[in-house]
């Protein structure tokens, strides 16, 4: 029987290496050893993805490696979920993500989703080619803290501006922080359309969203 430390390290290594089989093996060992499934996923899964994140930032990893790591994490999560005792006392911030209408390039958005989920955020993924109105509707429905929009094509970027206007017109712009991203989206342009931030990549998004949520919660009187 492996020790707790061996299991944790084995699982983290499997995720970092994007090794689904090893991730499955260590997740099962963890259950057999009676380890806390919730802690494994949120703490150690998160730590493993943070390592992936750093490697991506340093250009040791590229998108294919990140996707493999996320798959390995998902395999472990699927095995561990039935054994998780969820801690209901802390309310994680909710982030609504989507690729704006007309754009079907969702790798960037998916990376942000992977990183934010691993960091403990409650991520609502609207998918790609999302009708602009949907961002506002969903944000209201789930009382979102942050809305993230992505576009890879210069042709679809103007949709982001429209979504921000919709929040303004509905009088709810101060209820959320807005981040935007995608290849052609510059920080200058992001700020010019009234977005709060343009994280330079998926890994940077985690820190940016944490800061924005803190700021939002300190300045926002009433939530939705």
């Amino acid at each position: 029987m492996a020790t707790k430390e061996e299991i944790i390290n084995g699982l983290k290594t499997a995720i970092v290496n994007g090794d689904e089989e090893a991730a499955a093996k260590w997740a099962k060992e963890a259950i057999a050893a009676g380890l806390d499934a919730y802690e494994l996923v949120t703490k150690y899964g998160g730590e493993a993805m943070a390592i992936v994140n750093q490697k991506y930032e340093k250009k040791e990893y590229f998108v294919p490696e990140v996707l493999c790591a996320a798959n390995a994490l998902n395999v472990a999560v699927d095995i561990l979920t039935p054994y998780m005792k969820v801690d209901k006392t802390t309310v994680p911030a909710t982030v609504v993500l989507g690729v704006v209408e007309g754009d079907i390039h969702d790798i960037g958005k998916n990376l942000v989703k992977i990183m934010l989920s691993a960091a403990g955020f409650n991520v609502i993924d609207l998918g790609k080619d999302v009708p602009l109105q949907k961002f506002l509707e969903k944000a209201k429905e789930v009382k979102a803290d942050v809305v993230g929009m992505s576009a890879l094509m210069s042709t679809t970027m103007p949709g982001m501006k429209k979504v921000i206007s919709m929040f303004q017109e509905a009088g709810v712009r101060n209820k959320v922080k807005v981040i935007v991203g995608g290849g052609p989206v510059t920080e200058e342009w992001a700020l010019s359309i009234g977005a709060d931030a343009r994280p330079h990549d998926a890994s940077a998004a985690v820190g940016v969203v944490k800061q924005l949520v803190e700021k939002l919660r300190s300045e926002r009187g009433e939530s939705w």
Binding site: F62, V63, C68, S154, T156, P184, T186
Partner: protein, 341 residues
Amino acid sequence: MGEMTPKKRALLCLTGNKKKADRVSCFDVLTTATVDQMMAVNAPFPEANRDPELCFRLAAAAWEIIGLEGFKLPFDLCIEAEALGCKLNWGRIDRQPSVETHAFNDLKDLKIPENIIEKGRFPLKHGVEERLRRVYGDYLPIANQVTGPFTVAGHIFGIEKFLIWTKKRPLEEIKEALMLIADMNVADCKEALRRGADVICIADPSATSDILSPQFFRDVMVPVYQSMAKRLGAPIVLHICGNATSYLPYVADTGFDAFSVDTQVNIAFAKQVLGDKMAVVGGVPTISALLFGTPQVVKKAAVDAIAMGVDALMPSCGIPPRTPTENFKAMVEAARCMVYV
């Protein structure tokens, strides 16, 4: 030497011989279609992507309305995926078609029919190229654009799946699939050149360094591109979106004639790395200058790019359909009144 025509100029500039021309060319080998042009010649998307008459009119508008010094077909990147069985979303007037469903579940399922260039919209594209050549004679160049192997692979298999396979499957299998797609690209280009095209543009936006490592580009993409270069006897321009700076040393080995760079790549630096091996084209930012800028902003960007040594002036990426005509025209004007530097 005879009169300097836009075609002669373009061919000189795209092959790194701009000093033999009178000035840099302003031939946009990426997308040319904008809503303004569609309205002006009554050939809107999505119909202009499917109807030969409307397609011809919209392609010709690049010269007739904007003054771009050549023609380019098609207006979207989905012809290959469509011919291989993907379903498309046809978009609307200000939105290019996009791929909606994938065609193959596994690398091993990929089969390219022998008569692929008779399928889908390949015949329409080649037919319009032939008509442009007939109508405009030898005065203006025609670019046949193909969607590059990596991007097509993303379309037909699903990009995330394909990216994961690049790590999980033997690299030889990945290369083999890309090579099959390259064969299709080559067949398409050969037919286009036979029907009147002068220049090939390989647009491979998904092979961007925002996604792939420079090592993968070097080890997998470069050999695939080299095989294409060897088989095509015409100037070839490669376009890759995003910050391709880390690719530059390897791009030099592709055997292509010109590299079309996005805004994130410094043109002077690209010129320095590529040296005599390849021309560097692009230079006018699609978003900050062409879409949201003014004619003055466009001209300034154009002059800066020329000063940094750009060989042919064109948008840094596909033109956003809502680009105002006055901005697009300003790019052409800038090229016309500048000599090479």
